[in-house]
Every structure is written in structure tokens, then in C-alpha cells.
């Protein structure tokens, strides 16, 4: 489903100098698989997530990303979403004046339009969104507020999970969705992700901590450092990292 080859990406820093972040990253994710990427701060995990979603701040230096056989990097952010890619943001943006329900409905109907489906009418939409809000433990008042505006950190994450459930994307990237969440919220994220898990859908979980992986059992765990994946293994690798930190792998790779 997703095939990343030798991805090299840099960003302009405050002094307008190019700073290399991803240095030849390779990653293949097949339909139905759940992968986790762990790694220390500054290793490039969030950059990878944002490059996949189509954020324009980055400069592509080399490499390719194929998504269902298409050149993902040539697609506009909305086209990526329409083809089924979804990023749950680490820091969701506040959008004053744009009503959350209106936003959700416009997003859902944009995807339906792409898939040649008629727009969902107001009543059907409301029924759907209410049931999904229940799943994420979100009060209905949040529908009538501006998107993420004045939401707490946890509420913003719930809103991301709500969007994920509503849009039911085929490829989900969770960028540190667990950060700042209490145990109850963490369990909710786990339940929501697991409810979507199936043979066709792939999930990439970016996290610092092993804890989220107690709820979302990954098929593969990758360790990322200095802009590339330096070690991959099964879920026991996550436990090992939790116990021993990252430095032992980094030492292993760069003697």
C-alpha cells in the first residue's frame, strides 16, 4: 500500500539554511498491517508524518513515495486525503470561526464526492456523527464550537480521532496521538483504532512510548534515528526500547 524508497527531505531553518531531516528512509507497509515508528526527539518521525500528509514546508531532495501505486508526493494534500490517507496531527490547528460540525460534514462530503457518492444529508450526517462522538467520549457541544478553538490538548486529540472515525480512511498515520492523554483517553484511542483495523486498512503509529502499543498491537516496530530507520522488529522491540532507551541501538549502528 505504502512504499517509501530512499526518502531524503530537508527544511529551511530560521537562518534560511537547509537542514536535512530525512536521510534515505525506506519503509514498506502492506494492506492490513500496523506499523509503529519509535525514536528519540528530533529523529524525523513527525517530519515523515507531515511529508506523507503533504505539508509544503519541506524540500524533497531524493527518493519516492508510492501510495497504491501512485506517486504520493506529486498529489495535493486534499488528493491524498481523497485517496484514503489520514494524518492525526500531533498539534491540531485551531480554526476560529469555522464550525466543527460544518467542517466535518464538508470533509466527509468531499471524500464522498471523490468516490462518486452523493453528499450525506443533514439528518444522516447528524446520526452518524452522534454515534461516533459517543465512541470517542465527546460531548455534543463540541460540534457547535469552532474547530479545535479553545480545546484542551486531550479534546483536540479526541477531535482527531473523531475525524478518523468519520472519514474511515484506508491509511492512517497517528502522529504522537498518545502524547498528553490520560489512561482513559489512551484506551479510547486504542478502541477507536482497533475498530477500524481490517484486512484492507493500514496504520502507521508514530510514538515515543510503548504504552499506546499495549492498546494497538503492531505487526512491525521500527526504530528511527537521524532521519532513517535503523532497526525493525516485532512488538517485543518496543518493550526492549522501553526498558533500555534508544542509545543502545544508536551505538549499535554507529560504532
Amino acid at each position: 500500500m505504502l512504499d517509501i524508497n530512499n526518502l531524503c527531505v530537508s527544511i529551511q531553518d530560521e537562518k534560511q539554511q537547509a537542514k536535512t531531516i530525512l536521510r534515505g528512509l525506506n519503509l514498506q507497509i502492506k494492506p492490513g498491517e500496523v506499523h509503529a515508528i519509535m525514536g528519540p526527539n528530533g529523529s524525523g518521525k513527525s517530519t515523515l508524518a507531515n511529508v506523507l500528509a503533504g505539508r509544503e514546508d519541506y524540500q524533497l531532495n531524493d527518493g519516492t513515495v508510492q501510495f497504491d501505486g501512485a506517486d504520493l508526493l506529486s498529489l495535493a494534500p486534499e488528493e491524498r486525503a481523497q485517496r484514503g490517507l489520514f494524518l492525526a496531527f500531533q498539534y491540531p490547528t485551531e480554526i476560529p470561526g469555522v464550525n466543527n460540525m460544518y467542517f466535518l460534514r464538508t470533509a466527509l462530503n468531499s471524500l464522498r464526492k471523490y468516490n462518486n457518492m452523493p453528499p450525506l444529508d443533514a439528518a444522516d450526517f447528524l446520526q452518524l456523527v452522534k454515534s461516533k462522538m459517543k465512541e470517542v467520549g465527546f460531548d455534543q457541544a463540541f460540534l457547535h464550537r469552532a474547530v479545535n478553538e479553545g480545546f484542551s490538548g486531550g479534546e483536540k486529540k479526541r477531535n482527531e480521532v473523531l475525524q478518523m472515525l468519520m472519514l474511515a480512511p484506508r491509511f492512517i498515520v497517528l502522529d504522537e496521538t498518545d502524547s498528553g492523554l490520560d489512561i482513559d483517553a489512551l484506551q479510547m484511542v486504542g478502541r477507536a483504532v482497533n475498530s477500524l483495523r481490517n484486512q484492507e486498512r493500514s496504520i502507521l503509529v508514530v510514538t515515543h512510548y510503548q504504552r499506546l502499543l499495549d492498546y494497538i498491537q503492531p505487526d512491525v516496530v521500527h526504530v528511527m534515528a537521524q532521519g532513517k530507520i535503523i532497526k525493525s522488529g516485532d512488538k517485543s522491540l518496543a518493550l526492549e526500547l522501553e526498558a533500555k532507551g534508544y542509545s543502545w541501538i544508536e551505538n549499535e549502528i554507529t560504532p
Partner: protein, 430 residues
């Protein structure tokens, strides 16, 4: 640029001709007085601080007819005239002339007057005369209006009346020839009374006209006025509006202005908070989408008494090469203590060649005054745009959503549900 200080010849010639319509005996002298004052005034130029960014050269380019040629009522947008039917008391003007057959006064209570100025001149000449006797105009366009007005509106609400049905003042234009009109509006609200008014301007595409209007609003003690204005003149038209508001004790006025149309639009509002406890909130949203469009808001609050409050919140979007001006003037007289005032102007520029001139002017002569002001000029929030697009929403639609979101806090000030829906349908939004 060569400075033009003369009023255009066609306008001067119109100013010389006597009006031969029947009128009350005092009116010719009044017109003459204002005509003289106007003729003695120069055409405002860039040398004048209040007109520094304004280019009135368009006045010279085309001779406008004194009165629009008669057209059939069927030629205008009858759908618009009916759009709030059942919800409002409506008065409709076409090309500056009152159209009784398009208006609907069925819900007008007996004790309230809402009529064209022409009708009021004949039915209530003493009230109109008293209005003109009180006023001292210094602005050239206001004098021009007083000298040449042919129609407009007179609204009189006695004391202790709460009018739940809004009054819709709709002005439409479709003439096929360039013409000028000078609508004159007089609105008087008695003690403890409450009213909602929607003033709407609409012009058929490419219609060329100059509208030079003057509105005087008197709000007696404890009275409440909600005044909405929706300006969607033709993209070739010029709209010049001067509004004067006189507020007595504890009166409450909320003005909400939506400006989208006209090639040239200038709205000047002056509110006199002349007795303790009076408060006035002016808000506006302007969107410039036509190349070289000009929209100008000059707002003045004159705090003349203690415990008066005022607020200005104007927001604008400039989508193309165009120019917007905001000038918020606050004057606090020495005896006006315990004043609260706030003013803000926020602009989004979507084109490199768009220009905004935002200027706060604060003249405070009293102690114990709390006044905040701020102005911003920025671009569309790229983070927010990316967020929306990352959910599958097309760039264009996402941009529209963000612009509607930017305008939303102004739109939320429209309390009356039918009027809110009406404005939303005209300007887009959630």
C-alpha cells in the same frame, strides 16, 4: 497625479437647477442654504487628511443623469424585493424612487411612521422641518445631499414601542444609464422603544450610478436600535454614505455593516454619545473582489458624557488589487469620565497588490478612560488551510471556509434569524 479640486461640471449644473416638484414652503430656502455651502466647498482631495487615500477622479469621468429614466417595476429584481416577505415591513426604492407597489407595509403598526421622504414631506412636514433646522452640516457630500435629495425614508417610532418586526429598507438599481441619487434617511426612535432595521443596497451588474446618501438617527433614552447594512451595489457604482447618530441616556445602538459591492464605497459614521450610559457598537465586514475596488470606513465616536461605551470591530478581506481604508476616531470630551472604548481592525490580504490603510485616532481629554485599540494586516493562515485540505477539502473550498470563518464573529452579531439567513445567503458562509 493632477489634483482636481473642482466638482464635476455635470454635478455643478445639476446643483444650479431649481427643483420644480411641489414641496413645503420652507424647503426651497433650506436647499438653497445647503447648495451654497456645497458650492463653497472644494472637492475633497488627497491634501485633506480624511481623504488622503481616496481618489474621487471617477466623478469626472461620466456625466450622470439628475434622475434615472423611468423603468418598469418588472425590470428589477422582484425576487429580492420578496426575499424577506412575511418577516419584515419593507420599503423599496428603485433607482432612487420609492416603489409603493414593491413595498409591503402590512405589518406596520398604526402609531409608527415608516414612509418615503416625499410622503413625509406632505404628511408630516413639521417633523421634517424640525429635523433640518437642528442640523449643522460641514461635510460637502452631506450639503450636496440636503440641496438635492429627492427621496429617502422617514421612520418615526414613538415612546415605549417594541417593534418585533424588522424594517427592511431596500434600494435597487437598474436604469441602463448613469444616474445620481441622494437618498435622505431620517430615523427617530422614542424613549424605551426598540427596533431592528436592515438597510440593503443592490444593483444590477454593470449599472453605473452614484448614490450619495445621508442618514440621521436619533435614539432617545433607554431606546435600542439594531441596524444592519448590506451593501451590494453594482460593481461599477459609487456609494457614499454619511450617517449621524445622536444617542441619549442609556440608549443602545448596534450597527453591523457588510460591504461587498460598488467600485467606490465610503461609509462615514459619526455617533454622538451625548448622555450618560449611552453605548454604541459598530462592526463591519468588507470584502473586495473587483480589481481597483475601494471600500472606506470612517467611524467616529464622540463621547460627550460620562459612563458612555463604544466599540468598533471592522474586518476585511482583499482578494485582488484593491484598496481598503479604515479610520477609527475616538473623541472623549473633558467631562466624559468612566469611559470604556474598544477598537480593532483586522485585514486579510490575498493579493500582493492589495492595499490597506488602517488608522486609529484617539483624542482623549478626560481621566478615567479605558480604551484599547489594535490593527492587524495579514495573510490567510496557511496552517489552517493545510489542516482543512488534509481532510480532503479542495483548496478553493477550504479558502472560502477560512474567509467565512474570519467574517463569522461579525455575522454572529446579526441577531434576527431571518435577517441573518438573508445576509448569509447573499454573502456565503456556514
Amino acid at each position: 497625479m493632477k489634483e482636481i479640486t473642482m466638482w464635476p461640471t455635470w454635478l455643478q449644473e445639476q446643483g444650479m437647477t431649481e427643483d420644480d416638484a411641489p414641496m413645503p414652503v420652507w424647503l426651497p430656502a433650506l436647499r438653497k442654504k445647503h447648495r451654497q455651502a456645497w458650492q463653497e466647498s472644494k472637492l475633497p482631495s488627497n491634501q485633506d487628511e480624511r481623504w488622503k487615500y481616496t481618489d474621487l477622479a471617477f466623478l469626472q469621468t461620466e456625466r450622470h443623469l439628475r434622475v434615472a429614466p423611468a423603468v418598469s417595476k418588472n425590470s428589477c429584481d422582484a425576487e429580492l424585493a420578496q426575499s424577506l416577505a412575511g418577516e419584515v415591513i419593507s420599503l423599496v426604492w428603485l433607482n432612487g424612487s420609492f416603489m409603493p407597489e414593491l413595498s409591503n407595509l402590512a405589518k406596520l403598526p398604526d402609531k409608527i411612521i415608516a414612509s418615503s421622504i416625499q410622503d413625509a414631506l406632505h404628511l408630516h412636514p413639521e417633523l421634517i422641518e424640525a429635523h433640518f433646522k437642528k442640523l449643522q452640516y460641514t461635510n460637502a457630500f452631506v450639503n450636496l445631499n440636503a440641496a438635492m435629495f429627492t427621496d429617502g425614508v422617514f421612520i418615526f417610532i414613538p415612546d415605549n414601542v417594541v417593534l418585533n418586526t424588522p424594517i427592511h429598507l431596500l434600494s435597487m438599481a437598474k436604469a441602463g444609464n448613469a444616474f445620481v441619487s441622494h437618498p435622505h434617511q431620517i430615523i427617530q426612535i422614542g424613549k424605551n422603544s426598540q427596533v431592528t432595521i436592515l438597510e440593503e443596497h443592490s444593483g444590477a451588474l454593470a449599472e453605473n450610478y452614484l448614490k450619495n446618501m445621508v442618514t440621521t438617527i436619533e435614539v432617545a433614552a433607554q431606546a435600542k436600535l439594531n441596524y444592519y447594512k448590506l451593501q451590494q451595489e453594482s460593481a461599477s457604482a459609487a456609494h457614499i454614505a454619511n450617517t449621524f447618530i445622536f444617542q441619549n441616556q442609556d440608549s443602545d445602538v448596534a450597527l453591523t455593516n457588510f460591504s461587498y459591492g460598488a467600485q467606490f464605497a465610503r461609509d462615514e459614521v459619526t455617533a454622538y454619545l451625548q448622555e450618560p450610559g449611552a453605548q454604541c457598537r459598530a462592526a463591519g465586514f468588507y470584502q473586495l473582489k473587483t480589481v481597483n475596488q475601494y471600500i472606506d470606513n470612517h467611524i467616529t465616536f464622540d463621547h460627550l458624557a460620562p459612563r458612555t461605551q463604544s466599540e468598533m470591530l471592522y474586518k476585511g478581506v482583499l482578494a485582488v488589487k484593491s484598496r481598503a481604508v479604515f479610520n477609527g476616531r475616538l473623541h472623549v470630551a473633558p467631562e466624559a469620565k468612566k469611559i470604556l472604548a474598544y477598537q480593532a481592525n483586522h485585514n486579510l490580504l490575498l493579493a500582493n497588490s492589495a492595499e490597506v490603510y488602517s488608522k486609529p485616532e484617539l483624542e482623549i481629554y478626560a481621566d478615567d478612560v479605558k480604551c484599547k485599540h489594535g490593527a492587524t494586516i495579514g495573510q490567510l493562515d496557511q496552517e489552517a488551510l493545510f489542516y482543512l485540505r488534509s481532510r480532503g477539502i479542495e483548496n478553493r473550498e477550504a479558502t472560502e471556509m477560512l474567509l467565512a470563518g474570519f467574517a463569522d464573529d461579525i455575522l454572529q452579531r446579526v441577531i434576527h434569524p431571518a435577517i441573518k439567513t438573508h445576509i448569509q445567503s447573499k454573502v456565503g458562509g456556514q
